[in-house]
Amino acid sequence: MFEMCEIDKSYDAVVACRGASLQVAPGEIRALLGSNGSGKSTMVKVLAGTVKPNGGNILIDGEPVTIHSGLDCRRLGIATAFQDLSLIPTMTVRDNILLGNEPKGRLGMVDRKKSLREVAALLDRFHIDCDPDAYVQTLMPSLQSMIEVAKAVYLKPRLLLLDEVTAALHRDEVQLIFEVLRQLKAQGTAIIYVTHRMDEIFEICDTATIMRSGETVADVSISDATLNGIVFHMTGQRPDAQDILETEEFDREGSDLVLDVEHMALYPKVRDISLKAYKGEIVGIGGLEGQGQPEFIRALLGVTRPEEGTIHYMRKEVRFHSPADAVNHDIGFISGERNREAIFPDRSVAQNLFAGRAAKGALFRYLTTKVVRDFAQAAVEKYNIVVGSLRHPASSLSGGNQQKLVVARWIAVNPTLLLLDDPTKGVDILSRREIHKILKQCADEGMTIILSSSENDELLEIADRVYLFYEGRVSGTLSGATKTPERLVAAMMGMTREQNGATREARRA
């Protein structure tokens, strides 16, 4: 019996887990479910020894244990298959599987024959068809995921943690993994299974622990659970898959089409996305984390090049070579990753504000400090950013004000199309509200805004229309009367009307 009791974990000010608990018995496959930021990944990381909790206990058969490293995990019989893979890309498949667990031979050397045999048997068990001496980095992602699972199973663990391992897999590959999981279950292995694919839970899991906002909210048996019930626990909303528009042609007569994306694909994350944005509209992009939203935005911006599909911008087909190219076409981009993609922390507030403007125009045009300062002063007054002095470095501002700074930078150059990737991530409620106000005002003035957000409330509040992404496709479009929390949740989970009905029937049978 493995138990996690009252686990607390916070990263700086953000609370990931608040008294969360989880238990799993030998021979049980337990689903660990939760929406964005529910803390389920943190729970997995705590158990895998990569994150140290602030409080709480981990018990194995009633005995408290400490897990500080991968070594502790191995000793306790816990093996993890990570979502972002723990394979070493520059090593071969065989070396990866055996890593830290090599069969011993003579003179302290690795028993080559035995290792060849065991890896061959393991690959065979998972029906993985690849050269054991191939370097992992040369294999396609789905194969790497399979090997990640095989590697964890090779350790013959008492507790197997699977963290969204099926995200990159095809249905038949998932079935192969399920087959192995059933064997392990029969042998008495405890399994914790994290996924966002609801159909998989009903197929393979016995029980489910559901988390929301860092707390454990429900502990259910799959045999008497319904899909709607589970989604209710995850989101606090009853899902309703009625009237979700699905890739239906949305055409607004009379208004200007600013952006028209058709069947964009950028494998593996973006598979088939079509999206339209009209003048003066705020288009929301929602969904669970990792469904292709950031990749889509960056492909629009020209950071990466889409492999398929067309982009029409202002009724002309375009293909931006770089963000600079996109900016020259009056497109602005605001990233939620302030520190990585937006702020120049050591530069002054004024220079930060001017950066969007500086990206345009002649390269060697002479700039006086006055030009920069006046421009910044106007922006600060207009967007109500609290600054001590325009000369202070941007790093002296609070997170919320930094984000407002970035928003103001782009608004001030008045782009035709503004792309935002989760702009209010980790921003306090007051600044968030002000950013919303600014965006609405800009949309009223005719700017087109595409806003990707991990917060459902934000999308419902300010977006005119919401596209929901699920596994790199649009799983639903909401607007007007259909823009309800229930439908948003259903589309976010990839539930369509038919699927919802089918699962319900399956439950009844």
Partner: protein, 349 residues
């Protein structure tokens, strides 16, 4: 597919392939320019080995560091440290030169441990830390020996320059010794761990490996090989000089890169050997090429700087070639991804 062909295809995918190709190319060139009979004479082979053993060993010392994800450019001046300690212990204490060599080896291990502590424990960037170490070690060298001096007894350097059985250069034995030890290590757990740590310290840690400890082991191996390089240098020059050898550090690093070693978990000892072999052979080739020119064109004389220019340009193209092939590999990989995913797409639809 025949066995030989499969082996070749497998070898083509290994990181050592580019270095091997470059090395063989220059080697053939060298043999042609110098003339086969002259090149394969034991005297010329012996000179080639004994003169270049310090560089070869320094490069091989760098390899375990690069594989484990660190590096040390002060490795060149460390040769001088070994040299200085060996000579001074021998000269001042009146003990056997073997004791001097042992002390030199210990000094090399101590500097390696210091570099490891700075890079792996204190986590300073390895380039900066080892660059600073160059000045520290140079200072220590001058403290120990304030001006070039000392003499190695004739018996020692005669042995170093000798041919075993009249065929095999003695210095080649040192190379063989290091290679055998390394081959053994690569078949132990350590051989897997060092690649795991270099490839991804985080994932190696998750697999129950202690990256800091593995990097320490790699540093100690580097220390031993550096010690041997320093001893070779001492036997080759037969005297002590506190300020020699500094250029070996960067040359060893570039030899590693030409040979196909990457920064962290990519490449092998073979890469280091081929890379160093390439550098050594190219200089040899250019030297004989100019000799040929002197003979063919009457009255043709240039300074030796021209030789350096020509060999450096060829080395530059060698470096360029490693970058080009790496890019090709990446591109092939990317196209493989796209193909696989599109295939998968149509299969599910």
């Amino acid at each position: 597919m025949s066995n030989a062909k499969r082996l070749f295809l497998h070898f083509r995918r290994t990181p050592a392939f580019v270095g091997f190709t470059l090395f063989v190319f220059v080697l053939v060139l060298n043999i042609v320019v110098q003339g086969p009979t002259h090149f394969f004479s034991s005297r010329s082979l012996n000179t080639l080995f004994s003169k270049n053993m310090p560089l070869l060993l320094t490069t091989m010392a760098m390899a375990p560091l690069l594989i484990s994800g660190t590096l040390d450019i002060s490795i060149g001046i460390q040769l001088a440290l070994v040299n200085v300690v060996s000579i001074m212990v021998f000269q001042e204490w009146g003990v056997s030169l073997y004791v001097g060599f042992s002390m030199g080896m210990l000094a090399s291990l101590a500097v390696s441990a210091l570099c490891w502590a700075l890079v792996s424990v204190v986590r300073l960037p390895s380039m900066l830390a080892s660059f600073a170490l160059i000045y520290v070690v140079r200072g220590v060298n001058v403290l120990i020996m304030n001006k070039p001096q000392g003499k190695v007894p004739e018996a020692y350097y005669k042995t170093y320059d000798s041919l075993i059985g009249g065929v095999i250069p003695f210095s080649a034995l040192i190379l063989l010794f290091v290679l055998l030890i390394w081959l053994y290590l690569m078949r132990t757990k350590f051989g897997r761990n060092i690649y795991a740590v270099g490839g991804s310290p985080r994932n190696a840690f998750a697999a129950g490996i202690n990256p800091v400890w593995v990097q320490f082991q790699a540093s100690m191996i580097k220390g031993v090989i550096t010690g041997l390089a320093g001893i070779s240098l001492t036997l080759m020059t037969a005297s002590g000089n506190p300020l020699q050898g500094e250029a070996y550090g960067l040359r060893a690093l570039s030899a590693c890169i030409i040979g196909g070693l990457g920064f962290g978990g990519w490449g092998s000892m073979a890469c280091a050997v081929f890379g160093a072999g390439f550098l050594v052979t190219i200089q040899n080739t250019v030297y004989y090429f100019f000799n040929l020119l002197y003979r063919i064109i009457p009255g043709f004389t240039v300074t030796s700087y021209w030789q350096n220019l020509v060999s450096d340009i060829i080395i530059f193209f060698g470096l360029l070639m490693t970058i080009v092939t790496a890019k090709e590999q990446r591109e092939a990989l990317r196209q493989g991804f796209v193909k696989q995913f599109k295939g998968g797409e149509s299969a599910t639809q």
